[in-house]
């Protein structure tokens, strides 16, 4: 337990020292900041704009951070061979994987909090302090980011850096198109295609579930039940990803 923590903290420290993630964070802050430049809008429309742009920026740049941090955590550690010095210490391979997951989650969390604080500061400055709906949206975005990180981490236990990046981004895009996919599936007649598509639909992480910002921004209500259900879905999916990571990493030759 202690050793997972140590590995996690070291991973987090690496992200701070290496500074590559700062650039992504700075981009996120710039985009959030820029959203208030639309001063030709009415106050109400401007607020909508700020929320819409900020939610999207926190989600998109957060996803970039999650993917790159997770990539560095396992794939790069293997590619740079620093892992030899770790796995020859008295630690289990499972300590390593779960420790890395801890570390990546910390990185995601801190960057998320920084971007969110900036956004909330902006809302307060615009005399519209965040309400429960804003909180719900952010909560779901956070769990989505953790899930994205977990999936990239799992892929890293059995693929190369390059393949992992491609796969992670592919899943990120497809995972957001699932509702279109669902409609397409319903319209297909061919049973085999339908079966395959259904399978794909179930396997691909349904990131779009975590997206309630379109509704929130226009003032629609999203129930706590839905939020809770989606978080449970995220955690379940992440556990599966972690089990896959543990399974493959146990057998991985380096």
């Amino acid at each position: 337990m202690k050793k997972m923590w140590l590995i996690g903290v070291n991973t987090f420290r690496e992200s701070i020292r290496k500074k590559t993630l700062y650039i992504i964070l700075i981009f996120a802050l710039i985009v959030i900041g820029a959203s208030k430049l639309f001063s030709f809008l009415t106050a109400e429309e401007e607020l909508k704009m700020i929320k819409d742009v900020s939610f999207s920026a926190i989600e998109f740049f957060g996803a970039l951070i999650a993917i790159f941090a997770s990539l560095a955590a396992i794939s790069t550690e293997i590619e740079r061979r620093t892992i030899y010095t770790l796995l020859t210490k008295p630690i289990r391979r499972s300590d390593f994987v779960i420790g890395k997951f801890f570390g990546v989650s910390m990185i995601i969390f801190v960057n998320f909090i920084l971007a969110t604080a900036f956004f909330i500061g902006l809302l307060i400055f615009k005399k519209s302090p965040p309400n429960m709906d804003v909180f719900k949206t952010l909560l779901l975005i956070f769990f989505e980011l953790i899930l994205i990180g977990g999936i990239t981490l799992a892929l890293g236990t059995f693929t190369s850096d390059a393949f992992n990046i491609i796969c992670s981004f592919f899943l990120y895009i497809v995972g957001h198109l699932t509702s279109y996919g669902k409609q397409l599936i319903e319209r297909t007649e061919n049973i085999i295609v339908k079966g395959l598509a259904d399978m794909l639909y179930t396997l691909v992480p349904n990131y779009e579930n975590f997206n309630i910002r379109d509704k929130i921004v226009v003032g629609l209500n999203v129930s706590w039940g839905y939020v809770g259900y989606t978080i449970a879905y995220g955690i379940l999916y992440m556990c599966v990803a972690l089990f896959i990571a543990l399974y493959f990493f146990e057998k991985r030759e380096i």
Binding site: L6, Y84, T85, L86, T88, K89, P90, R92
Partner: protein
């Protein structure tokens, strides 16, 4: 009793459907407590493969490897082992003391003890003046030295070193040699690999000669020289390897 042991240890790297590279083939080794044992062989002879199998970084195709009677994945055994990889890479955003402290924590050392040990080791490998320098600014020799310090952080009973002198200048080589001899006096067991004959000649009690993944000969230097009627290690090295290659060529020739 042997403290490190391999039995018919074999590693085939599967690269494709029909492409298999022999990393190691039926190697039996026994390394005794308190000796310095050198694995000697040309590049690509399987030295690194053998050490990685012992440490559980690779898994054997067949056969087995043991350290202190424990399999390579045993956590308790690793507590007593130190390892220096070939051309070591470290977390280059850390400085020397930070790196050593991180490794010390993985051995569950308490922090007072770790701090003392880190001071000692930095003194020992002469990196005391570079305390605040991040590892990415280290020279190759400095990396090799911090690596040596890292492999000693837990005061290991067994030290496994993969080509410990490759990046070092002559003075660094001499210092490392003296350090190894001192560790031996303290009763440590040292297993090292090298392709520098003179290095091995000067420190090792016993040697093993590897070639193309096969163990060609093992024993004390004097014993082997007598057995193969060789004048010195170089002569011995060339003789065993040439003999193997001739036999190897004959065999593969037959098959064709």
């Amino acid at each position: 009793m042997a403290i490190i042991e391999t039995k018919q240890l074999t590693k085939h790297y599967i690269l494709g459907k029909k492409k298999v590279v022999v990393g190691l083939e039926n190697v039996d080794l026994e390394i005794n407590q308190g000796e310095i044992f050198g694995i000697l062989g040309p590049n690509g002879s399987g030295k690194t493969t053998c050490l990685k199998l012992l440490l559980g970084i690779l898994f054997p195709t067949s056969g087995e490897a043991n350290i202190m009677g424990k399999p390579p994945y045993d956590i308790e055994m690793k507590q007593h082992v130190g390892f220096l990889p070939e051309n070591p890479y470290y977390y280059d955003y850390l400085n020397g003391p930070e790196l050593l402290r991180f490794y010390a924590s993985l051995y569950s050392m308490d922090s007072d003890k770790a701090d003392k040990r880190i001071e000692e080791l930095l003194e020992l490998v002469e990196l005391k003046d570079a305390k605040r320098l991040a590892l990415r600014h280290y020279s190759k020799g400095m990396l090799e030295r911090i690596g040596l310090a890292a492999s000693l952080i837990n005061d290991p009973e067994i030290l496994i070193l993969d080509e410990p002198t490759t990046g070092l200048d002559p003075i660094g080589c001499r210092d490392t040699r003296n350090l190894l001899l001192r560790l031996k006096e303290q009763g440590k067991t040292i297993l090292l690999s090298s392709h520098f004959l003179s290095e091995v000649e000067r420190v090792c009690d016993r040697i093993a000669i590897f070639h193309r993944g096969h163990l060609l000969a093992t024993g004390t230097l004097d014993g082997l020289n007598k057995q193969y009627q060789a004048e010195n290690l170089e002569d011995l090295f060339v003789k065993t390897i040439c003999a193997f290659d001739t036999e190897f060529a004959a065999k593969t020739g037959e098959r064709k």
